[in-house]
Amino acid sequence: MTAPPRGNPPPPPAASLAVIATGSTNLASVLAAFRRLGVVATPTRDPEVVRTAERVVLPGVGAFGDVMTRLRERGVVEATSERVASGRPLLAICLGLQVLAQGSEESPDVPGLGALPVTVRRFPATSKVPQLGWNQIVANGGDDLVRDGYAFFANSFYLASACDGWAAAWATHDVPFVAALQRGPQLACQFHPELSGAWGASLLERWYASC
């Protein structure tokens, strides 16, 4: 047996990568994707961690209103909004991107975080919904993190327009839609990079290295 430590334990180091546990259930895939890159991602519900972690992932699966409710219950709405406003490293995935908007046709009575001045829309009634599968990404090129390729999507709602200050990558599912937005070390993906094979892994790696 080892002796108990004496005195006050040292403060835990600030998490290098924290994943907001929204109560949605794709955490396992996100955590595993980072583990394959040799990065330990720590789930958190602590607003202070959301504020102080070097990098934060905002995942999301389910319904817009539910995710906003869970963020609110956990008291991380303000911390997440502050983080977005501050420009500090953030990766938002799928519904995580959508809750950055002002609202969504999915849950009309529930305001989003409001960082993006747009409303999330439903795919047309004539489209296959949900969009489930791999779609082609058309990137900006240049120094943007997102490159041309194929990414895995699982969504019924979408952003129709890019936002000032953010570089957009696009895809088409009957209508053109925003596949990703990037502003410095803040990356918001409508697709799931953690499920997008080697292309997605390299994107995660570039994002992590850019922060």
């Binding site: 396992a28 895939s29 595993a32 394959r36 949900p130 489930l132 194929y150 019924s156 997008s196």
Partner: protein, 250 residues
């Protein structure tokens, strides 16, 4: 534009991949994680695990299998087999599934689909419909192909989608494991009456069959034996699909 998916299926039992003909006569085909990783490297768009374990111990193996596959797999993972309750679905999702497949329990209590979709989103809920030809139509078969019903399979698929299923995994029980080709009429009948994606399953013998299933209306094609037995590879099938003018992820 959304591409057509090729999905290798791992039928697992007690932690091993097995494959039978028409749901019976199971034989060993390897370790799930080994096959899943190999198929991803070959270009698979997704992996489906259907657990056919009959016992509680076997179900425990299934969760361990999902964890092991999730750790290594960088593409979507759908897991089904024996999902009866919300808690069953939570256990599989926590273990690393991205989508859960439900079959018999949803047939007995269709409200389960709505409950699951409300909790996890419809994109997470796959309704497995096992269909047996009866003259010019198809009846639903439940309990892993062992119990016939008088319910029309096309009508059940449509109801399932209305109730919250975000995808239909459509298996021809008559063709499963026989390598006699997909039941293309069944694929067309179901895909023309639902808006959600339809995955065709049961009977693939060659890449040409997968092309035919997509042309019949399938959004994705699932196969097991032809990949496990080395009849063809995922990469070869996708090349054939591309040559036939179908959109696939290269």
């Amino acid at each position: 534009m959304l591409t057509r998916r090729v999905i290798p299926c791992l039928d697992t039992r007690d932690g091993r991949v097995v494959k039978g003909v028409k749901f019976t006569g199971l034989r060993d085909a390897g370790r799930p994680v080994d096959l899943a990783v190999r198929y991803e490297a070959e270009g698979a768009d997704e992996i489906v695990i259907l657990d056919v374990s009959a016992t509680t111990e076997g179900r425990g193996h299934a969760l361990a299998t999902v964890r092991a596959v999730r750790e290594a797999l960088g593409i979507p993972l759908t897991v089904g087999g024996g999902v009866r309750t919300v808690d069953d679905a939570v256990a599989l999702l926590d273990a690393g599934a991205d989508k859960v497949g439900v079959n018999t329990a949803a047939f007995r209590d269709p409200v389960l689909l709505t409950v699951l979709a409300n909790r996890f989103g419809c994109q997470c809920i796959v309704l497995s419909v096992d269909a047996a030809a009866r003259g010019t139509s198809w009846n639903v078969v439940v309990r892993a192909g062992t119990e016939g019903t008088s319910r029309d399979a096309v009508a059940w698929a449509a109801e399932g989608a209305r109730r919250g299923a975000g995808e239909i995994l459509l298996t021809s029980v008559d063709r499963d494991g026989t390598q006699a080709g997909y039941d293309l009429r069944l694929v067309t009948a179901v895909s023309s009456c639902v808006r959600v994606p339809v995955v065709a399953s049961g009977g693939a013998r060659s890449g040409a069959d997968l092309v035919d299933a997509v042309r019949a209306g399938a959004d994705a094609v699932l196969a097991a034996s032809i990949f496990h037995d080395g009849v063809t590879t995922v990469g070869e099938v996708k090349r054939q699909m591309a040559q036939a003018g179908l959109e696939v992820r290269p």
